[in-house]
Structures are given as C-alpha cells and as structure tokens.
Symmetry: C2
Subunit: 129 residues, 2 copies
C-alpha cells in the first residue's frame, strides 16, 4: 500500500485538475500558506482558493499536476514531502517551470488526518543563490 500522504496528494492533484477547489480546501489547515509564485504568498483557505482559481485561469483552465519521484520525511505529526511535481497545460508560454522539485509540509490533526500546512511547489528555487 502506498503511503497515505502519497494518496492524499493524488486526491489534491485530481481536485486541481477538476477545478474542484471546495474539495481541495478540505486538505489544507485553516492557517495554511501557499507559495503562489516566488515572493507571493496566499494565507488561509480563502486566499488559497482564490489563488488556485487564478492559477487555473492562467493555465487556460487546463492544468494537470502529477507527481514523479517522492520522498516523505515523517517526524511524529509533521511531515515534509519532497516531490518532483510535473505540470501539464494547454499553454506554451508559461513563465514558470512545469517540472519542479516541490516541498510540502503536512500536519496530522487530532483526528489523525494529514492536512497541508505549507504548499511550496517551487522548493528551494525560491532562494535566488
């Protein structure tokens, strides 16, 4: 059986593909943050949902994220996922990388469910050096 976080990230990717952002928001903590692009952060479910709507539009409502190689670093109720995130879309001129080394931080809540607290698909590329 796959790691439950791998399954969860698959559900997130499907929700993004289907633009089902109501479902997607169930997988985030209340105070989660999303790195929309380097230097721009969305905070909390409302801002994150709006950012995903804008991202979908930017990619001509055709974005499909999938994950390649993935390593899950788990420490108690906290996990850091390092993942090759692949984006495909009907858009030829994106100024953002479509093949990323992402970093996602998940927290387990009191019901034992993993929720995304920090969604940074740009990984270490957000520092310029």
């Amino acid at each position: 059986m796959e790691h439950e976080l791998k399954e969860l990230i698959k559900k997130c990717d499907l929700a993004i593909k289907h633009e089902d952002f109501e479902t997607l928001m169930n997988y985030y903590t209340e105070d989660a943050i999303l790195v929309v692009k380097p230097g721009m952060i969305a905070k909390g479910k409302e801002e994150i949902k709006k950012a995903f709507i804008a991202i979908a539009k930017y990619f001509n409502n055709s974005i499909v994220p999938t994950q390649g190689e993935m390593i899950i670093l788990e420490a108690g109720d906290t996990a850091l996922v390092i993942s090759q995130t692949l984006l495909t879309a009907d858009k030829m001129d994106s100024e953002y990388s479509m093949d990323r080394r992402a970093t996602y931080v998940f927290k387990k809540n009191s019901q034992g469910e993993w929720l995304c607290a920090i969604d940074n698909s740009y990984g270490t590329d957000i520092i310029s050096n």
Copy 2:
C-alpha cells in the same frame, strides 16, 4: 530585529561549530529526524546526537556551518525554512556538497518555543530526478 528562527538557527550553527551537542539537542523535538545523507535518516535526539558526532569526525572536527540567503515560510505553529547552508571544514575531499539549499521544518511548542522537527540540509537534492 531578525526573525526568531534566524536567531535560533544561528545558535544551532554555533553549537555545531563548538561541538556542543547537548545544547544543540535542546533545539530539536523529541521525535525529530535528521537526513544524515540521502537515504540515511537519524530519528530522535539520541540518534541525531550520534549522527552529529559522526559528521563532526568525518569533517576532521573542523566543520563550521553558516547560512546565506534564507526564506521563512510560516503557517501558524509550523514553519518551513529554505536556506542556503554553507559548510566549511579542513577537509578537501568531502563527497557531500558544501553549498546546499536546505529545508528545515520547525514546530512551535506549547511554551511558544520553536523546535526543529525535520532537518534536511540536502533540500530537494534527495530526489534524484
């Protein structure tokens, strides 16, 4: 004033430089993990301390870590630090990079103190693609 996590990481770097691993362990959660090298994980304070002793020895007891550019992504009681981590040591033939893009996950405890839960100085380089 600098972000408290930046100050804390400076204290960690100093403790590593001085090989004061008792002090260093105060900055980790009980169930913290350390990526010793890609594919090798130390779990819990005892294993992490032993790993730091081995790392110090590997670098001829001369290792000095410092941080360059750093971005702190904070979501409530959880933070992901993306940092350029520079290592210097009196060892010319290290098989590991001395200039890294590290990923550190910190958690705030009930006393409001940040503690390191996941210490991965290799960042996204732990995936091979």
